[in-house]
């Protein structure tokens, strides 16, 4: 079954100075390592790092019309910065991988199972 790991954290560009640059590059290196582990274990399906939240556009249906506006779904300090799709046997396996995700150190990793009509 596929699990989505959604990464919510403060934008890396807003990590505190002075060591922001080293912290960003350390984080990216750790993410690459995590990605390699996922691949070796055969659970990796896909991963996406998203552009800064300023680039977000949201659409919302209202009274039969679709309204377009500039910005993310919700203005929050921790934003959806990316996601990964993993193929895991059960929630425990997905949680084990999420726990090892480097981004968990600076924010929240939300684990969501794929929709399954028979299980919903």
């Amino acid at each position: 079954m596929q699990y989505a790991l959604l990464f919510y954290n403060p934008p890396l560009s807003e990590l505190p100075e002075p060591e922001r640059e080293t912290r960003v590059s350390t984080m990216l290196a750790a993410m690459r390592e995590w990605h390699e582990e996922l691949t070796r274990a055969g659970v990796f399906r896909s991963m996406l790092r998203l552009a800064p939240v300023e680039s977000a556009t949201s659409l919302r249906g209202q009274a039969g019309k679709v309204l377009v506006h500039d910005g993310p779904f919700a203005e929050t300090k921790e934003i959806l910065g990316g996601l990964a799709l993993l193929e895991c046997a059960d929630l425990d396996e997905a949680l084990r991988w999420a726990r090892r995700c480097p981004l968990v150190q600076i924010g929240t990793v939300e684990v969501r199972p794929e929709w399954n009509a028979a299980r919903a």
Partner: protein
């Protein structure tokens, strides 16, 4: 035996077996809802037939076989609707059934099989207490699925509307299914965290019952017995885990004193002033035995220390012979494991009784230096301080502290106790 009595007795038997039967049904069908529905139907049949046919010698096996038949009927019915996935599920369930001699030999044969019935309750417990579920859901699921309490009973015990509790259970069941929370005993690397979650759920259930007053529904008080029952099962299934015995010991040593905790007019009685004749010998004995079983295991955890503290109180020949220096030492050790305000306040009390009020007050002051704002709103801090000041003879300061405590107090028994102490000061 009147009809009502016999029904009650039969319900008690059925409820005792509920968790074990449900756990094995989930193990073979892999479907919580199917297992629960089938068991409900089997229980209804049992309550119809047992009064006439007599209680089977192996009620668990009887219920299991009856419920399996119901479940297989349902799966067959579903398979007829030509769902391929469910047809496969049926095939697997039938194959398992062939292996299960209980089912092959029918009800009569099943009665001989109870002892050999694999105990799957640990899997059910760990699933019900999974950290991906909320605390409230863990408690409700555990009582419902392992305790066999009805949704109505759990709702009454927690003073909640039945609809709220039903929704909570439903949401938890859906999450188990949709997120695929596995039905298994966790592996080594998750063991400590997962076991501590199970123990915490059992202790939560106990404390909910222990905080209940006589004015509240009796089913609330019954939560204590329910938690003790769960802990006995847990200690039986995990005899090498010291904390399972320790939690059982802790709860028994508390519960044994339940008749001595309040004065006739409903004021709380502190442990060292309780009437020891009203403590329950049998429960104390079982509690002390459980504590010994815990001590025989490796390591001494937080429950073992709390049980040792309860035992030190209980084993003192009289309230005024309470071994306060020992208690102070045990609390100090407990504080290294769980440095919570309640432990630190209790340590200060024990230190004050062991080495004079000044020693205890010094610990309380140190505590206040760390987090003055939070302690200002913390009832046990003010109550402990009031007691130590009273013992030190600082009447005016003690009076202020009792008033601070009373302003924060919400439970009637403790309010009466504090008010009594305050009154005693002015005399």
């Amino acid at each position: 035996m009147s009809h009502a009595e016999s029904r009650e007795a039969l319900e008690a038997i059925a409820r005792r077996e509920y968790g074990r039967v449900l756990a094995s049904l989930i193990a073979s069908f892999g479907d919580f809802d199917l297992a629960e529905d089938a068991l409900q139907e089997a229980l209804a049949t049992a309550l119809e037939r047992w009064p006439q046919d007599g209680v089977p010698r192996r009620p668990a096996a009887w219920l299991t076989v009856a419920a399996r038949r119901r479940a297989l009927d349902r799966l067959r019915h579903r398979a007829v609707q030509a769902e391929k996935r469910e047809a496969l599920q049926l095939g697997e369930a039938l194959r398992q059934d062939e292996r299960a001699s209980a089912a092959r030999d029918g009800l009569a044969g099943a009665e001989e099989e109870d002892e050999g019935m694999p105990d799957e309750r640990l899997r059910l417990l760990f699933t019900c207490c999974h950290p991906a579920l909320s605390d409230e859901a863990r408690v409700a699921l555990t009582l419902r699925m392992l305790g066999g309490l009805s949704t109505e009973a759990v709702a009454r015990a927690f003073l909640l509307p039945v609809a709220t509790l039903a929704k909570r259970l439903d949401r938890a069941r859906r999450k188990i299914r949709a997120a695929r929370i596995p039905y298994r005993v966790p592996p080594e690397e998750e063991w400590a965290e997962r076991l501590s979650s199970v123990l915490a759920v059992v202790y939560l259930i106990f404390n909910e019952g222990y905080s209940a007053t006589d004015a509240e529904p009796a089913v609330r008080r019954a939560l204590c017995a329910e938690a003790i029952r769960l802990a006995r099962v847990l200690a039986g299934l995990l005899p090498r885990e010291g904390e399972t015995h320790a939690l059982l010991a802790l709860m028994l040593l508390h519960d044994a004193r339940r008749d001595a905790r309040f004065t006739p007019d409903g004021a709380l009685v502190p442990l060292d002033e309780q009437d020891r004749a009203r403590w329950r010998e049998a429960e104390l004995g079982e509690g002390l035995a459980a504590l010994r079983a815990s001590a025989a295991c490796a390591g001494r955890g937080a429950y073992a220390l709390q049980a040792a503290i309860a035992a030190a109180h209980v084993l003192a020949p009289a309230g005024d012979a309470t071994p306060w220096p020992t208690l102070a030492r045990l609390y100090a050790e407990l504080e290294t494991l769980v440095p919570t305000p309640v432990v630190r306040v209790n340590r200060a009390v024990a230190e004050g009784r062991a080495h004079g009020p000044a020693a205890g007050l010094a610990l309380l002051d140190a505590l206040a230096d760390g987090d003055a704002r939070r302690l200002a709103a913390y009832l046990p801090y003010h109550a402990a301080r009031a007691d130590l000041l009273r013992r030190a003879g600082h009447v005016d300061l003690a009076r202020d502290a009792y008033r601070s405590a009373l302003a924060l107090c919400r439970g009637e028994p403790e309010r009466r106790f504090l008010a009594g102490r305050l009154q005693g000061l002015s005399r």
